[in-house]
Each structure stands twice: as structure tokens, then as C-alpha cells.
Symmetry: C2
Subunit: 378 residues, 2 copies
């Protein structure tokens, strides 16, 4: 994988990641395809929505259908019929958030499957082995994602593990591998620990760098502080990935701070719950006022959903719990996200990112922001 | 609506229904789009699968979103974004099978919604009014669908109501309406009552004729007897519709008997439950043997699902309860059904329907048939 910066505007960067499966323009949003499918969408629809790279979850694919099965079927891209590049996380985040009875030792983490309670072990070498079998274009080092709140001492001690595991992941990554390996730094909400972790991970040397352990319940103000403190400190010639963050207000902050890549279930999960992003703000499709509204969901959107169906029909599908509802809503929300990122990239290239931010701030603040974002911003 | 027979072969007929929204070749299968959506599919996918006409349920659309809402949004076709013709049933079948506390009088049926228990009344005039508002291309007379088993006396008395209601539907249907109105005959499994009902309904005069009240639990042998007794007795120049029947073995019998149009939830409901129709027979996608099978579901099928995904992936999606599973399975099953009907039409036009029946019988009998079909056929 090669990465080039093609333009900068203040702290923000526009770049190109060249993978064997195609180009990825940054800033870029990665839709989440947990089990090898972005819920409700076909690969064709993902392409039409503008997706360039998909995130899949190692933890989930390891449990179902199993990484060796995916390997034998030609890797995760072929398995899911997605022609572009894929990134897999290391499995760590889900081990901490989903599984039961986890036991963290210097060797790794023992945990029970959230599906059937079976006992499993993943450490750095195993995480690499699984991700090599899955065959994604970009893979992630195995880390400990510290929860919020955690004491200073806990986070400090945890960083030793994360750095040690990062070294072992690096050592288990074959020279000349076609897979790019990204390192993850942690540090909770402690600025000095964040910077120390970043430094240690950068020293090991990876194809890209990622901030982990943010947006896990901490106040937005603290999160923004961590983002701004770290964005410009990673090597400028490598992609910078802010894991699990996708609230567009947060994204704009992070792009300003120098981050390039994002993933989040927000557009897809919200879509399934009937919350839709439009150029006039966030709406709930179940509102009674839409029951006879013949207009498209978002007149400024050219996605299949907006070109083909009325708000009234979308509301009807949602109220009737029809499968098509989740799909049409997901097509729209993802198209909206991908367009937002495209406009943001263009604004950086044209040297008017600050203007882009101002333009969108009102919409995002007034209608998009969660309560927490709003509180942090006002 | 105009109807022409273009070929016959024994009792079987190949025809063309000309509607304002396009041609419908017969024999034809109508996918069921209960609430204004064939579950999991977009209108584009329906077209690609080969669908020419969709059935929607009056009962369901009357309760949600309401027929007047659908009228104000331009009719059911526009509402659901389906460019072709639509047929609505009269609501009767669901009133009898789904709703609570129904009270049948000569005026109509009082019932409680299966959604919220609210009280409603549908009689022949109301059924016509609702269907006129929904605006389907083909609408159905309101009847009483007698259950199985019913006594001879009950069915005999019920026929008076069905005939009386058919007359009132006819009277409530405006001269020169752009909607075609089909009459329904009943008669349970009593041959003489079937023939009497058919005669009375034909005497009233409709744009097409339908057999109702079959496949409601009666033995297949009795059902086949009713089908063969009635198929050729309806006017030859009108479409003949066998309601609610879609087991392909039954369809072949009915086409042989002279029926033209069919509807059934079988391909779509089975798809969502992981039961798939292939040229080698009926399979359950959850079988462990498919877990690493890289081959397409049906090598003889050119649908999107078979062109794009492996059995292993389809099994994985099904086992993981992914939404995409229901959709890809539905695309396939419906494509299979539509191809079956196309091949059947061609065989009639080419004068080799008997050969077609023989060719398929083995596959259908061995791998498709339900236990009941098999018992009736051997």
C-alpha cells in the first residue's frame, strides 16, 4: 500500500491510499460490514453509494464463519463479493465489549463467545494469524482498549501491554506482506499517556497509525482534546485513522486535526432505526407529518432511495417493519455520508476547508448533533 | 384490459393480457407484495427477476397506510414505485384468516384489525371502494372464502352470499372503468357446488374469473379434482386465475386444466426461511455441507445471487441472520419461479407442454413437492 498527500489546508489533508484493489481517497469513511456484509446492502449498492473501502470485524468473522473458512474461500473480499479493499480490526474492541468472562494476561485475552459461550484466546500473534487468513488489505495491531472511566494508573499500566503487543504484531507480520499493518495507540483521556503511547507506537513503525479507545463514553470535550493533541504528531506520510468515530461533527474536528480515515456504525444503524441524515438535518422517518408526503426524502440527494420513493412510502415501510425499509434507509444514509466526505475532500483540495466547516456547522449542530456534541460545541 | 390466447396445447393456454401498464404473458406468476412491497426486494429487482404483475393485499393496505392515503399518493403502483400492473385481492381472504371477532352478515363482514383490534366493516361495495382508491389494474370481487373442512350445507348457503356479493360488486363497478374486475367462485371441495358457483359467477359476467377457497388445508387429491373440474368451464376468452396456489406441481396441474394466473407466498416466504429452489431440487441453505462450498447456488441460474455469491456466503448470511440473506434468497427463488413459468409458456407455444411436464415432474416430485403433493401424485 502506498499513501500520498495531494493537498493540505491548515491541519487537514487530502490524500490517496493506493491498494491492490483500488484507490482510496482520504478523508474517507469506511462503512462497517461486521460479518462480511454492510447490513441490508449488496456490494453493488455500496459502490453506488460511493464506498471505497469496507471495515469488517475480525472478532465476528473469527467466530462465524471462521477465519480458515474465509481463507479457503479466497479471502474476505471474494467471500463477500466486494471488489474493493477491506480493513479488518484486530478483534480487540469486540473482545472487550461483547464477550464474557475475559481474562487479560500478558499473553493475550481469554474470552467466551457471545454466541455460544465457547472459550477462545486471542493474543497478538493469534490476531495476526486470523487477520492474515481473512486476507484484508489493511489489518490492525492487537491492543487493549481501555474503558472510560479508567484510573490514570490502569491506563498507564495498560499501555505497556499495548506497546508490547504492538511489537509482537509487528514481528509476526511478514516482510513484504501485501497486507498493510496499522498500529494503534491508546492512553484513555490522559493527554500525557496518549502522547507517550503515540510515540511508542510510532517508534515501532507501521504502515499507518490509529487512535483507539475514544468515543467510549468520555465527554466530547475530552475526546476533542485527545484528537487535537495527537492528530499532527503521527508521521505525515502515513494514513491516520480515528477508530469508531463517525458523528460528522466529530469527523470535521478530527479532519481539522489531521486525521484521514474513519469508521462508524452510525449511518447504517441509524438508518435501520429510521433516523435519516438529510441536507436539511436529521429526521425521524416515522413522524406522522410524512404520512402523505409525496416528496423525496432529501431533494438534494441523487441516491436510489431519493430518486425512486416518497417520504410517505419510506414511512409506510418503516411503520410496517418491512425489510426494504432498512435497505432504502441505509442506501440513503450511506450516500449522504459518502457525499459529505467527498465535499470535504474537495474543500481541502480547493483550500476552503474552513468555509466547508462553517457551511456545515449550522446544519450539523442544529439538527445532527447528539446532545453531547452540542453541549461540547456551544 | 384486453386478453388474447396466442396458443393452446391440450387444456393449457398461452395468452397475453394487455394492461395500461404493460403486457402480461400467461401462464403468469404474481409475486405477493402484501403491504406494497415484495418483502426484501426493490421494484428493480422484481423486474430483473422477470416479474410482470404484482399482487397486493387490500386488507393490509386498507389498514396500513390506508386506501385514501394510497389514492392521494397516486395509487398503489406509484406508491410502491412499481411501473407494471398490480392486482389487488378483495380483502376477504385476510378478513377470514387474520382478523379477530368477525361477524358475517348479508351486508358484509365486521372484523377487528389484527394490528390494534380496531373495529372495521367490509362488504362488497366497500371492497370496491377501497380497491378503486388503491387503483390496481385488476381488482377482485368480494366473496366468502369457506374454510376446510366445511359441511355441504354451510358451503351451499355461503354460495348464495358469494353470488349476491359478486352481483353487488359488479353493480358498484363503473362502466368503462380502467380497472378490470374479476369474479371469484367458491364451492369448497364439493364438485356440484363448485360448478354451480362457477356458473352463477360467469352468468354475472366479469373481465376474468378466479377459483377461490382452494389450498386451504384440503387433501391435494380433492384440490386437483376441483381444479380439473373447473379449468375448462370458464369462458375461454377471459383470464383464469387460481388464487393462492404456487406449489409448482399444483401449478402444472392447473395449467393443464386451463388456468392462466397464479399467486403464492411460497417462493418469497421460503426464501426468507432459507429454503431455495434450484434446477437440482429444493435445498435448505443452512446445511453444513455448504459451509465451504464455493459454487453458485444453482449453476443453471443467471440471477444476481447466483452470478455473484457462493453457497458458502449464502449459508453464512443465513446462519448470521443477516438482512442480505433474505434478499439474495428471494431474488433467486423468484428468478427460479419466473424462469419456470417462462419455460412453461414456451412449451405451450411450441406444442410440447406434456414433454415439459414430464421433464420437470421428476425434479418437482423428488425434491420440490411437499409431503402432501407427493402423496397425491404417487
Amino acid at each position: 500500500m502506498r499513501f500520498r498527500i495531494i493537498a493540505t489546508d491548515g491541519g487537514s489533508r487530502a490524500g490517496v491510499m493506493e491498494t491492490e484493489r483500488g484507490l482510496v481517497l482520504t478523508p474517507q469513511f469506511m462503512p462497517v460490514g461486521t460479518l462480511g456484509t454492510v447490513k441490508a446492502l449488496s456490494p453493488e449498492e455500496l459502490r453506488h453509494a460511493g464506498a471505497e473501502v469496507i471495515l469488517c470485524n475480525t472478532y465476528h468473522l473469527y467466530l462465524r464463519p471462521g477465519h480458515e473458512t474465509v481463507r479457503r474461500l479466497g479471502g474476505v473480499q471474494r467471500f463477500m463479493g466486494w471488489p474493493g479493499p477491506v480493513l479488518t480490526d484486530s478483534g480487540g474492541f469486540q473482545v472487550y465489549s461483547l464477550s464474557r468472562l475475559r481474562n487479560i494476561t500478558p499473553e493475550g485475552v481469554e474470552f467466551r463467545s457471545h454466541i455460544d459461550g465457547s472459550l477462545h484466546f486471542i493474543g497478538p500473534e493469534r490476531a495476526m494469524e486470523i487477520q492474515q487468513a481473512l486476507g484484508a488489505d489493511i489489518i490492525m495491531a492487537f491492543d487493549e482498549c481501555t474503558p472510560y472511566p479508567s484510573t490514570y494508573e490502569y491506563v498507564r499500566d495498560s499501555l505497556r501491554l499495548t506497546t508490547e503487543w504492538a511489537k509482537r504484531c509487528r514481528a509476526a507480520h511478514p516482510e513484504g506482506s501485501s497486507q498493510a499493518l496499522f498500529g494503534i495507540f491508546q492512553g484513555g483521556t490522559y493527554r500525557d499517556l496518549r502522547l507517550r503511547s503515540l510515540e511508542e507506537i510510532v517508534e515501532i513503525g507501521f504502515d499507518g497509525y490509529a487512535a483507539g479507545g475514544l468515543s467510549v463514553g468520555e465527554p466530547k470535550g475530552l475526546m476533542y482534546e485527545m484528537i487535537h493533541a495527537t492528530g499532527s504528531l503521527m508521521p505525515a506520510d502515513r494514513p491516520r485513522y480515528l477508530m469508531g468515530i463517525g458523528d460528522l461533527l466529530d469527523v470535521v474536528e478530527a479532519v481539522e486535526a489531521g486525521y484521514d480515515i474513519f469508521d462508524c456504525v452510525m449511518p447504517t444503524r441509524n438508518a435501520r432505526n429510521g433516523t435519516l441524515f438529510t441536507s436539511a438535518g436529521r429526521i425521524s422517518i416515522k413522524r406522522a407529518e410524512f404520512s402523505e408526503d409525496p416528496s423525496p426524502l432529501d431533494p438534494e440527494c441523487d441516491c436510489y432511495t431519493c430518486r425512486s420513493f416518497s417520504r410517505a412510502y419510506l414511512r409506510h415501510l418503516y411503520m410496517s417493519r418491512e425489510i426494504l425499509s432498512m435497505r432504502l434507509n441505509t442506501i440513503h444514509n450511506l450516500s449522504f455520508y459518502m457525499r459529505f466526505f467527498r465535499l470535504m475532500r474537495e474543500s481541502i483540495i480547493q483550500g476552503r476547508f474552513a468555509e466547508f466547516k462553517l457551511e456545515w456547522m449550522e446544519t450539523l449542530r442544529g439538527n445532527f448533533a447528539t446532545e453531547r456534541s452540542r453541549a461540547a460545541l456551544t
